[in-house]
């Protein structure tokens, strides 16, 4: 039950993008097309899940026992950076087209605050191991959801007449605001 609450909370109620503002850069950059949004979401979810596992092990088996809490930020970000490199290599091997679609945003997952935020939140709330993993998957699912909805709206938006000055980031932010209002409706779920 506790695990379900954590999942729903991370995925929709406290959606990383729309409630915590984490991962805005890829949210604005890669939300032009549904296909690339879904791939980006899946890559991020994958990295998030592994990050949740690795950072939990690192925090609870190394940093806490040896009283090295102050090294939390540098060690987390290094773990994330190496994980992203790894995912990049795998995707490059597996699918060239996917690799081209995700373009420069794959290395940018490193500076995607959503991933670091996930690791920090999980350790701050002293989640147990299964809770951490569920939190990682949930946050990834929420990120993918927000990104895909946004991409769907933006595909339609190409047919609309947006004022010149509001094209690109501004209109995306305004839509995100409306989406954030809509997502508030999920709040009663937990």
């Amino acid at each position: 039950m506790e695990l379900i609450i954590i999942f729903i909370s991370a995925a929709v109620v406290n959606n990383f993008v729309l409630a915590y503002f984490l991962g805005i850069c890829p949210f604005i950059g890669v939300s032009n097309k549904i296909t690339s949004a879904v791939s980006m979401g899946m890559a991020t979810t994958f990295v998030m899940t592994i990050t949740a596992i690795v950072s939990w092990l690192l925090f609870n088996l190394v940093l806490v026992p040896y009283d090295l809490g102050f090294l939390q930020i540098p060690s987390f970000i290094l773990v994330i950076a190496s994980l992203v490199q790894f995912v990049e290599m795998v995707i490059k091997k597996v699918s060239q087209s996917l690799y081209r679609a995700l373009g420069i945003f794959l290395p940018l997952i490193t500076t995607n605050c959503a991933i670091l935020g996930l690791a920090l939140f999980a350790s701050m709330r002293s989640y147990t191991f299964p809770e951490s993993v569920v939190f990682g998957v949930g946050a990834g699912a929420g990120f993918t959801l927000a990104l895909t909805i946004m991409a769907g709206i933006r595909e339609e938006l190409e047919l609309a007449e947006v004022p010149e000055a509001f094209k690109g980031a501004p209109i995306t932010l305004i839509i995100a605001g409306i989406l954030a209002l809509a997502f508030m409706g999920f709040a009663g779920m937990i």
């Binding site: 729309l18 409630a19 915590y20 503002f21 984490l22 991962g23 805005i24 850069c25 604005i28 102050f70 090294l71 939390q72 930020i73 540098p74 970000i77 290094l78 950076a81 940018l108 490193t110 500076t111 995607n112 605050c113 991933i115 670091l116 935020g117 920090l120 939140f121 701050m124 004022p163 010149e164 000055a165 509001f166 094209k167 690109g168 980031a169 501004p170 209109i171 995306t172 932010l173 305004i174 995100a176 605001g177 409306i178 954030a180 209002l181 508030m184």
Partner: protein, 227 residues
């Protein structure tokens, strides 16, 4: 890198021309998250500026010693170290502020503005220029944080920096202090910034065209006389 850029220009460009928020849409996560009030915006801006300036100074000083293959990793560790310093000092000396800004101080590490400046500027320029550039970008970021924070605080809680500025008869717009308000306000602000720039460019283009036309016309008038 162009070496003929004047030092003051190196600083000033960050305030508007390449303002990280309004012109590059970078560093939006901390910007949106902490700007519930103007004071939070200022605190976040100062913390980010400190990290950016310190990291730029250090990285530009040792830029020739870092092997290019591990460039990014080294930058990240250096930035993370400075962020931890800020985080510890804030927790120790300003507990209230640190509680308000919560996990967003550690997340300065993942602010693309800071890593981006190291990669694009500090790793290629002298420490003096790098520090000026960092101050410029940092203040540009601070201005954006302050503007957004002020608007949201005035409309959302009728106050600015804790002082009540709007009468009781004004019903606070709760949406402004909700996440949605952050997105909407920033979207509108960026749209206005874009509109201003588009106008400026059009005027610049027009004056250029007029000058060109005048020059052409002038030559046409002059030529027969020269014959």
């Amino acid at each position: 890198m162009k070496k003929n850029v004047t030092l003051s220009k190196e600083f000033l460009k960050g305030l508007w021309d390449i303002n990280p928020v309004f012109r590059q849409a970078l560093g939006l996560c901390p910007l949106l998250a902490v700007t519930v009030s103007a004071i939070n915006g200022i605190a976040m801006g100062l913390a980010s500026t400190f990290v950016l300036v310190s990291a730029s100074l250090l990285i530009s000083s040792i830029r020739k010693l870092i092997p290019p293959q591990v460039r990014i990793a080294s930058f990240i560790v250096i930035i993370a170290t400075f962020v931890t310093i800020v985080d510890l000092v804030m927790k120790a000396k300003f507990p209230d502020l640190s509680k308000e800004l919560g996990p967003f101080i550690p997340l300065i590490v993942a602010n693309c503005v800071i890593l981006g400046r190291q990669e694009a500027f500090s790793s290629k320029n002298s420490p003096g220029r790098a520090v000026l550039d960092a101050f410029g970008i940092g203040f540009g970021f601070l201005i954006a944080l302050f503007v957004l924070g002020s608007i949201r605080e005035i409309l959302g809680s009728r106050t600015i920096l804790g002082f009540t500025v709007l009468p009781d008869s004004f019903e606070p717009w709760i949406v402004m202090i909700l996440p949605a308000g952050a997105f909407l306000t920033l979207g509108i602000l960026m749209g206005i910034a874009n509109a201003y720039n588009i106008r400026k460019e059009r005027i610049a283009k027009q004056t250029l065209m007029e000058k060109f036309k005048m020059a052409v016309a002038g030559r046409n008038v002059n030529q027969p006389e020269a014959k």
